[in-house]
Amino acid sequence: MAVAVAEDIVVRPLNMAALVREASITALVVFALAISLVGFQVLDVPGGLAIRTRFVDVGMVMVLAFFGRVALILLREHRPRPVLIVTPVLAAIMLVLLLSETFFGVETGSVLKQFLPFQDPVVLWGVLLVTIVLAVRSAYAHTHMNSSMTLEEREVRMDQIGAGVQRAARLLGPVLLLFAITLPFMPFADRRLLDIGILVLTYVMLGWGLNIVVGLAGLLDLGYVAFYAVGAYSFALLATQMDVSFWVALPFAGLMAGLAGVILGFPVLRLRGDYLAIVTLGFGEMVRVILLNWYSFTNGPDGISGIPRPSFFGFAEFRRNAGDTTAFHDMFGLEFASVHRIIFMFYLILGMALIVNVFTMRIRKLPIGRAWEALREDETACRSLGINPRNTKLTAFGIGAMFAGFAGSFFATRQGFISPESFTFIESAVILAIVVLGGFGSQVGVVIAAVLLIGLPEFFRDLQQYRMLAFGLAMVLIMLWRPAGLLAHREPTLRLFGRNKKPGTSS
């Protein structure tokens, strides 16, 4: 592998005074932040609130920040050795202490745990993680003493990885699909796993839908959840007020959401980038506020409940006593089990998500899809070629919104209850985070990101409160490291020479 060796690495003599000063400043900044955030804790005590001080923790945080900064400075100055020696030792000690109760029994364990800097296990694991990251980085810096990648080389490398993953996806895709299809019949597939699977797939579908708008057309939409909401409410209102069945209401809800996309698309036609993001964010909030306040129509904050569950394609119901309709288990001669509906829901969302995927893959290779990408690249050039920017943008908005509407209908029928609370800005942010993390335009990337961002937190419920923190951190890192997204790689929609044929060999 050709990693260019950067010749201009100079190992300057360490200026201890500057080092201490820089680390101290860091510690001071951390103190300023921590004294109010960590130092005082408000407690609920009988008869009111009390304040507990945690100055020891503040001190610990400062010490950690000081040494962390020193380690970073050492890495920056190309002296990874001390870091490489200290951090693994620290990490090992922490790990042993953390797991001491399992190793040495509860009694010794609880004594040993006293030596740990904090009480909260999550914070401790966090500190351990940071230590390990530092250790890995110093090890990397040590082995690559004389080489360092420039931003461009890293970009090329990452693009190669993205390309590799996409190539692998041709094989991996069917495997993943097979896994998804057989999942409900796996011995380990309990109800909880299926529920998580359904949730992940919903976000995969939303991510793929948003990828059309953001990844292909390059329109940064921060209000995507609005269309999700429109779909969900259209569906819920149709189903509860007019007794329309799932299979009739679903396309209608998608159409409504698509229409909403086109309508909201009109005013923002001339906006790009940040401005577009801000306005769409505003639209998202507007939709939520309307849902919240239009009490007579949407039932306001109380939401809509009693949304009917989908039937088995209109043939059978998932109920023990289906009354005058057929029951699913009777139809197939099975014992009644409530999990049947869950499995059906799982396949439903899987199918819907796959439709979005196939649609996206196909439309990319059609004139409209290419025009979306061209518009993302250069709108002025598009106009000079006679491409109508308005229609092209509106179709992107409309189709993206339509898919959100389908997902919204599914959400409504799965939950049986919706309220504006489900459609806050955070949802938009999460969907966008999935797209960004996976990489603009990368279909597999979205799946991986959805599993990481939605699936994992569901499994580790204890960590839930730190989820947004991790999101934010991940986003900042991505923006610093690779703004196009981790696995972003653009595969041409058509080629003159075959994929593997090197151009130039033909003549």
């Binding site: 196909r362 059609l366 409209i368 290419r370 990408e373 690249e377 250069d378 070629l385 020479f497 151009p503």
Partner: protein, 302 residues
């Protein structure tokens, strides 16, 4: 062939010959208090290369922007004598000029789709045609034969222009990764893929080395001779202009100061004055005029 009788019908012969394709009458463009183009009238012929020259800031790019629908002229009538009929270009806004009147253009600072491949750039240029063939996406989604045939034809056209711009080898390369000279040629190929009747080139030779510049000359001649379309050419490099154009229009401070065959323009005292700002050098040899023209230029575009 005689020009169609209409409001924009050519009154006089077009210098350099040929049937009039474009008639510009009293074109004026004001930006606030600034008069970028001041009452300019000229004609451009089919199957001819018409060069628009002038010092920096003379208003050349602004003329293009008015012709191609990027600006709406303050005053003036721009008539395109298209085989399908007359088009009043000042009434067609934005993308419609390219879509309806088949006027294509390139930009002073290249505007490609950098992350799409060379081939894709050429296919995107055929968007409207393919859009219709794909039944506005419906037929395309199901991969109907109509669409597949149309796409194959589009590929053929793209290949044709790849060949003639010597870009076939680079067909699958991202346009943004091409060397500068190739990017310039690709932009021309892309414009040609829209099958225009009038091609407007804004400084296509800027930044090219002498060999590339020579190749460009042959390409432009080829387009003129084989495709019989009208070419409007903005160019600072006088060697290119004098060599290949049939008709030259000179702008200075938004006014037309000369209009005629290369011979006539070269010897026009007004032109020499504009370029050198001096009256004594009336009989300067062409090399010096060329040298004066290529001096300082700053990229500036719509």
């Amino acid at each position: 062939m005689s020009a169609a009788e209409s409001y924009g019908a050519p009154a006089a012969e077009v210098p350099g010959g040929g049937r009039a394709l474009l008639t510009v009458e009293h074109l004026t463009m004001r930006f606030g208090g600034l008069v970028a183009i001041d009452d300019v009238s000229f004609q451009a012929a089919e199957g001819r290369i018409t060069a628009i020259i002038g010092p920096n800031g003379a208003g050349k790019t602004t003329v293009f922007n008015c012709l191609t629908g990027f600006y709406k002229p303050t005053v003036g009538r721009l008539t395109l004598h298209h085989p399908k009929g007359e088009f009043l270009l000042e009434r067609l806004e934005g993308y419609r000029t390219a879509q309806k009147a088949s006027v294509a253009r390139t930009f002073q600072n290249i505007r490609l789709f950098p992350r799409m491949t060379v081939l894709e750039n050429l296919i995107v240029a055929q968007h409207n045609k393919l859009m219709r063939a794909s039944g506005f996406t419906a037929a395309g989604l199901f991969g109907l034969k109509v669409y597949r045939d149309a796409e194959a034809k589009a590929m053929d056209l793209a290949k044709y222009w790849l060949d003639h711009t010597k870009l076939t080898e680079q067909a699958d390369v991202e346009a943004g990764n091409l060397p500068y000279g190739d990017q310039r040629r690709l932009e021309i190929a892309r414009a040609m893929c829209t099958e225009p009747v009038l091609l407007c080139l804004d400084e296509p030779a800027a930044g090219l080395n002498p060999r590339e510049s020579h190749d460009l000359n042959s390409l432009l001649r080829y387009i003129r001779n084989e495709h019989k379309i009208g070419i409007l050419l903005i160019e600072h490099d006088m060697s290119v202009v004098m060599e290949i154009s049939d008709h030259i229009i000179v702008l200075d401070y938004g006014r037309k100061i000369s209009d005629g065959t290369p011979e006539a323009v070269r010897n026009d005292p007004a032109v020499i004055r504009a370029y050198l700002g001096q009256e004594e050098h009336e009989e300067l040899p062409p090399e010096i005029i060329a040298g004066a023209g290529t001096a300082d230029r700053s990229p500036d575009d719509a």
